[in-house]
Symmetry: C2
Amino acid sequence: MSNFATRMIINAIGIPAILFLIHLGGLPFVILIAIIVVIGQIEFYSLAKRKGSDPIFITATIIGVIWIIASFYMSENLFCLLILIAIMFLIIGLFRHVSGSITDISSTILGFIYIPVFLSTIVLLRELHNFQGRKLVTLLFVSIWICDSLGFVFGKWLGKRKIAPQVSPNKSIVGCIAGFFGSLATVIIFYYMGWTPELLSFVQLIVLGLIIGTFGQIGDFVESLFKRDAGVKDTSSILLGHGGVLDRFDAFFIASPLVYLYVLLIL
Amino acid sequence: MSNFATRMIINAIGIPAILFLIHLGGLPFVILIAIIVVIGQIEFYSLAKRKGSDPIFITATIIGVIWIIASFYMSENLFCLLILIAIMFLIIGLFRHVSGSITDISSTILGFIYIPVFLSTIVLLRELHNFQGRKLVTLLFVSIWICDSLGFVFGKWLGKRKIAPQVSPNKSIVGCIAGFFGSLATVIIFYYMGWTPELLSFVQLIVLGLIIGTFGQIGDFVESLFKRDAGVKDTSSILLGHGGVLDRFDAFFIASPLVYLYVLLIL
C-alpha cells in the first residue's frame, strides 16, 4: 500500500476518533492524551539515547501518565507536583552511574516538560467548562490540522524557497505562509459558524488564530531540531505514513500551552 | 592565610549577614537569593560545559534573576511562567546550532529548575507571613548549618567508613548520622526556645527536622554527583575555603523545596 493511501486511512479513522474523544471529554479524552504522552516520551527518549544520553526512561514515562491524570484531577497544585517530580529524578540519578549524570537527568527533565507537561495543557483547556473547553480544544485541533495540510499542499505546489533547511529540510516559505493563513481562516470560519466559545470576542479569536498559526509551526521546527540533532527522519513508524507521534503532534507541544496561557490571561 | 582561617572569616561575616537578611525579609532577602542564583547558575552551566554541553548560559542566568523576583511578587502564577520560560528556551534553541541542541536545551532547563526554581521556594517560604516565614527560614538555615558542621566534625573524627565514595569521596556514615541528629536537635532546641512558628505542633516540627536532616544531605550528594560527573572538586573558588556557591548551598537545593511543600501541605 502506498504511503499516501496509508496516510488517508489513518486520517479517515484518526480524525473522527479524536474529534469524538474531544466531544466526550472527561476520562476518555485524558486516556487519548496519556497514550500520546507515553508514545511521545518513548520516541523522545530514544532520540536522546541516540545522542549518548541515558535518560530515566521507564520511570519518567510512567510518571508522565500520572502527570496527565493529575492535571485532570488537581489542576491547582501542578507547580508543587513538578518540583517533587524534578527532585525525584535527581534522587534517582544518585542511584545510577555517576558519569553522564548531568546529561541523563537533563534529558529526562526536558522530555518530561516537553511532552507530559506541555500536553497536559490540552487536558486543562478541555476542562475549562465555564469557558467551553470543548469548543476551544476542537478549534485548536482543527486549526492545527488545517495549518499542517495547507502548509503541505502549498509547499509541494509552490514551495521552492526553503525557510530553514538546516533545521527542517522540507519546510518552504510559501508552505509556512499558507499554513499561517489556514489557521487564521479556520478561526474565522468557526466564528461565523457559531462554533467558538461565546466568551471570546472576535478580536480575541483572531489573536488565538495568530498564536496557533505561528507557534504551531514553531512547534514543527522544534521537533525537527531534535530529529536533526539525533540524525533521524521520523521519530518512529507507529503511525505508518505519518511517522511517529512526535511527528504527527509536533505543533501541539508549543501551541497548546500558549493557547492555554492566553485563555487564562483573558479569563 | 590557611584554608581554615579563611573559612572562619567567611563564616564570621556570612552567617550574621545572612541571618540579618532573613530577619529583614522583603527585597533585601530577595537580592541575597538572586545573587546566590546568579553565581550558582554560572557554576552549574560551567559544569555542563565541561561535559560538552553548550547551555543557553547568559539568557538563562538573567531569567533566573527574573524568576526569583517573580516568585516574590506573583507566587500564584509560577507554573504558567515556567511553561513560558521552557518554551522560550526551546525557541532560542532553534536559532543556535542544530548539533547538540537536545543536550544544550536539556542542561539549560535542568540548571534553571535546580537553581532558580528550587531556590525560589526559600523566597516563597520567607513570604508566608501568616505562617511566620521569618522563623521558618531562620530554622531552615540554622539547622542546615548545624547539620553540615556536625557532619564535618564527626566525619573528621570518627568517619572511617564512607557512605557512597563513588559519588562523594569524603562523606562518612558517622558524619551523615551526626548531621541528621544535628538537624533534629536544632529543631527541638528552637522549639523549647520559642523560636518556631506557633502554628506548627511539636510533631510537625519533628517531621520538619527529619526532612531537613535527610534531604539536606541528599542535596549534598546530588551536587557531588554533578561535580564528579564533570570531574571537578569545587564548583568555583568564589567563597575561598568554602569553594563555590553550589558547594556551600548544596543542601538547600533539595531541602528548601521540600520544606516549602511540607508547610503548604500543613496549611
